[in-house]
């Protein structure tokens, strides 16, 4: 039995005017376990707190009940007070007799009766309280950034700048991501490479940043402050430390017809290649699917021309294990596949391209050297039709239900650039809505219309039909003119919806980070914690969380970095002691709790148990990581055997409150 002290606050007249505080303390004094009960004008005042402290010392109280304002107001204050005289702060409960009693009731008798009931419930709960200790866990002073696009680069640089070690894992041979493929950026029209490549170089030169290119995360264990991550460095058959990036091998390799993914297959590369001139690291990679030497041992030309002796046909995948305090996901996006939108004849005509392909066709480093030419015959297009929302805002099951957000702006950019460079080219943009919220965004779009004479037509394209003469018939609706249009075009550009990179879902499973139905990572709170995953220690940067443009991505990347830095500077993490715990003797190992845990705080271990007959038995039981658990209690209800319980809100505590309230 606890020795409980009850302290009833008047809150001036806030409580005392409607609740007979004397009657409350007198009645509660008679409750079992209560050894002291009093009331006072302001319990939260210094003298009020001293009253509590003195009583604890004088009566040797083991539990305290404060009848006062909402615990959301002063629970922390009172906990601190009792802790200062050596009572465990979790041996205190607050009965809310102000917000939930005196302020809402007018009848003094009723309010007093209710205050007594609420006090009783708190006493019943304290009877079952147990001292809880906030745990501590150390923080590894190193961060991992998964994905080396602009989001990952910005996050990594910001973390490094604060003095912490940071690793970037990038699955491609170079960092840079989608931004490296883009020609110009809206709304300023500066060259993407000019603003991105200096940052890439900074990554390679900053001592604190380590790049694992051509690498993938294969497993993640641990929890906030203390993750252990396995990274697979795929064999690139070139020794990174020897290769000088001279590029000699990439001009001598006899395998010339490998589709160049950096240019989205619009031209070819060799079997040994450096994706683009400013690649970081600037190291060659051999594509094992095409290299003759690797496939059948015949060739070896690259090794012969490499003066640095960097070619290593025997290189193997290598797995590195590293520990991190925080992980940032920056896995980015891809345009969706268009096989369900063949009414636009993307696969039938080479001159129907995606917007990202158009970026390459307009880029000075692209397959056409920056001159816009039709991929089919290399002629200059005179009429170009842009189709917006190809697969975006699509609930038919073919596309994505969301707005891809960036298409309206990049299409305005494309239209504008084309009209500026080739004034003889007519540009039509078919749109459903033009969405341009953002600084200088709508002005930009209007410039395309007003200054550059781009034809914006409200309506959708219904059918694209290539003709034998190379023209492409575009059948579309002009909703404002109420006509069906038939445009003879030379090129059609599809604003394909964007979707999270395919690597994101398996990664989310490894991280136990939650995702929405579209495979975007979920944020801890959509408004207030937008760069954190609900899983502690996992942060989100860039499009992996939702469609966004470069400026937004960069600001989110820096925000994620700030959150990471905030975590890494902490010496030790104090953990909330009101977490779930598993009674292993009762646990069946059925995995119900694991399924409902939003934080991945529950793992299973094989444990040996002594049986009544003195034999031992190996059983699978749940184990809660208190550093990860946030204390929601979902597992306690999912657990069929009642093995899971929650500190501070245990089954028996809540039952005791129920009983006290329902007492006849």
């Amino acid at each position: 039995m606890q020795k409980i002290g009850v302290f009833v606050c008047w809150c001036g007249s806030n409580i005392a005017a409607t609740v007979d505080v004397q009657a409350v303390s007198d009645t509660l004094a008679k409750e079992p376990g209560v050894v002291y009960a009093t009331n006072y004008q302001y319990m939260c005042s210094e003298s009020g707190q001293n009253l509590i402290k003195d009583a604890i010392k004088q009566y040797g109280l083991t539990g305290v009940v404060i009848c006062s304002c909402s615990p959301r107001m002063h629970e922390a204050t009172f906990r601190k007070a009792v802790a200062s005289v050596g009572l465990n702060p979790y041996m205190l409960e607050v009965a809310n007799i102000r917000e939930q009693c005196s302020w809402i009731h007018k009848d003094k008798a009723l309010a007093t009766e209710k205050a007594i009931t609420l006090g009783r419930a708190a006493i019943a709960k304290v009877q079952l309280n147990a001292p809880l200790q906030a745990g501590e866990s150390p923080v590894v002073k190193r961060a991992l950034v998964i994905g080396g696009g602009i989001a990952g680069i910005q996050t990594a640089l910001d973390i490094a700048e604060a003095g912490f070690e940071v690793d970037i894992v990038e699955k491609q041979p170079t960092i840079g991501g989608k931004m490296a493929q883009i020609d110009k950026t809206f709304p300023t029209l500066d060259c993407a490479a000019c603003i991105l490549t200096p940052k890439m170089v900074e990554c390679s030169q900053n001592d604190k940043v380590h790049i694992y290119s051509y690498s993938e995360v294969t497993s993640v264990k641990g929890f906030v402050g203390n993750f252990t991550v396995s990274i697979k460095k795929k064999a690139r058959y070139v020794a990174e430390n020897k290769c000088t990036g001279c590029g000699e091998c990439t001009t001598k390799c006899p395998m010339k017809n490998v589709p160049n993914e950096f240019n989205l297959g619009l031209d070819n590369r060799r079997a040994i290649y450096i994706p683009f001139a400013q690649a970081v690291p600037k190291v060659a990679t051999i594509d094992p699917n095409y290299c003759n030497m690797l496939k059948n041992g015949k060739c070896g030309l690259c090794a012969k021309v490499c003066t640095a002796g960097a070619i290593d046909y025997k290189q193997q995948d290598q797995v590195i294990e590293e520990r991190y305090g925080a992980i940032v996901v920056a896995t980015g996006y891809n345009p969706i596949k268009l096989d369900k939108f063949e009414e636009f004849d993307y696969s039938l005509s080479k001159d129907v391209v995606t917007s990202l392909e158009l970026e390459r066709l307009m880029n000075a480093a692209g397959p056409t050297g920056g001159t816009l030419l039709r991929p089919s015959d290399g002629t200059h297009p005179h009429t170009i039709v842009f189709v917006q929302c190809v697969g975006s805002r699509d609930t038919s099951g073919c596309g994505k239900p969301y707005c891809s957000k960036i298409c309206c702006m990049y299409t305005a950019k494309h239209a504008m650039l084309i009209r500026e460079k080739y004034p003889d080219t007519e540009v039509y943009v078919f749109y459903i809505d033009v969405r341009t919220p953002g600084k200088n965004f709508d002005e930009f779009y209007r410039r395309a219309v007003e200054q550059y004479g781009v034809h914006y037509i409200k309506g959708m394209v219904g059918k694209v039909a290539p003709r034998a003469d190379g023209k492409i018939m575009v059948q579309a609706s002009d909703l404002l003119a109420n006509e069906q249009l038939h445009i003879e075009a030379d090129m059609v550009v599809l604003a394909a919806a964007i979707e999270p990179d395919k690597s994101a879902r398996p990664l989310a499973t490894m991280l136990t980070a939650s995702m929405d139905t579209n495979d975007f990572f979920t944020e801890a709170h959509p408004k207030l914690r937008p760069v954190e995953s609900p899983t502690a220690g996992i942060f989100l940067s860039g499009v992996c969380q939702g469609p966004k443009d470069i400026p937004e991505t960069v600001s989110q990347a820096s925000a994620a970095a700030a959150k990471v830095i905030g975590l890494l500077v902490t010496a030790k993490l104090t953990t909330n002691p009101c977490v779930a715990h598993c009674n292993e003797l009762m646990c069946n190992g059925c995995s119900s709790c694991e399924r409902v845990c939003p934080y991945g705080a529950i793992t299973y271990v094989e444990k040996e148990f002594r049986m009544p007959d003195r034999t031992t038995q190996l059983r699978r039981v749940a184990s809660v990581n208190p550093a990860v658990c946030q204390g929601c209690g979902a597992c306690t209800v999912a657990c069929p055997s009642g093995a899971m319980d929650l500190n501070g809100f245990s089954n028996s505590q809540i039952m005791a409150e129920v009983d006290a309230i329902c007492q006849k």
Partner: protein, 259 residues
């Protein structure tokens, strides 16, 4: 496995070739098509209104009578109507209940029968590889444009035949009989259909567009599975010289069973 065969009205009259060559070819490939007893006209079009019951009952009966096997259709229209009806029987509980109430089957029918178009039998049962092996007179050098029209593919949710915008089943068929498929963008656009009875000029315009598109892509001939398409393309697209055939006729020719 019993392959119940639903020929449909037109295959008994104006489109006898589609039917005759279809049966002969299947026989040659080792599959016997057993014509359903007591089949009745499917009506040519699926009435989309949810409260239309009576117009769908002939299809429901044909489906229920085929419960012990597969129901094979050949005419695009029958295929469309029967598959849509079957989809409704399986997915629209209210419709299924009403249709069953009318039909008084011993055991209620709820869309259990598998409906296959003749081409699906070739693709999924025979296999185009095996078909290619069975071909005796490959149609070498022929450039053939496949015309799907609308009834074979749409609505894809119910028909589940092929990618509705980029189908390949007829192209694969053309390859299997030794010819070369010609891709052209209007292969899945409408020929004008029954508008031929309402306003022939519409049918002419639509069919002409299809023929133009196929011709300029270099087709020697067009094949179809639909009597109405064949009619519109040949009769209502004046000035076009490319011949239009039922695909079964070329199949019979390739298999060497055309008389």
């Amino acid at each position: 496995m019993v392959y119940h065969y639903y020929p449909g009205c037109t295959l008994k009259t104006k489109a006898k070739d589609l039917d005759r060559y279809g049966r002969k070819s299947m026989e040659a490939l080792g599959i016997t098509l057993t014509e359903l007893e007591n089949w009745q006209c499917c009506g040519g079009a699926f009435t989309m209104a949810k409260d239309e019951i009576a117009t769908k009952l002939s299809s429901v009966r044909a489906l229920a009578d085929s419960r012990d096997g597969v129901l094979v259709t050949l005419c695009s229209a029958c295929h469309n109507v029967i598959k849509q009806t079957n989809y409704a029987m399986a997915n629209d509980a209210e419709f299924a209940m009403k249709a069953n109430n009318y039909s008084k089957f011993d055991v209620p029918y709820n869309g259990e029968t598998k409906v296959m178009h003749y081409l699906e039998v070739l693709r999924d049962v025979v296999g185009f590889d095996n078909l290619a092996k069975a071909v005796k007179n490959p149609l070498k050098g022929k450039k053939i444009a496949a015309y799907y029209g609308c009834l074979l593919l749409r609505p894809s949710k119910a028909l589940q035949m092929d990618n509705p915008e980029n189908p390949k089943i007829l192209e694969d068929f053309i390859r299997a009989i030794g010819a070369e498929p010609v891709l052209y963008p209007y292969r899945n656009e409408c020929c004008g259909g029954y508008m031929a009875t309402e306003d022939q000029s519409v049918a002419a315009k639509k069919s002409g567009q299809v023929m133009d598109s196929a011709a300029e892509m270099g087709a020697d001939m067009i094949i179809t599975a639909c009597p109405l398409c064949l009619y519109n393309l040949t009769k209502n697209a004046p000035g076009h010289q490319i011949p239009v055939y039922y695909f079964t006729e070329l199949l019979a020719e390739a298999l060497g069973v055309k008389d």
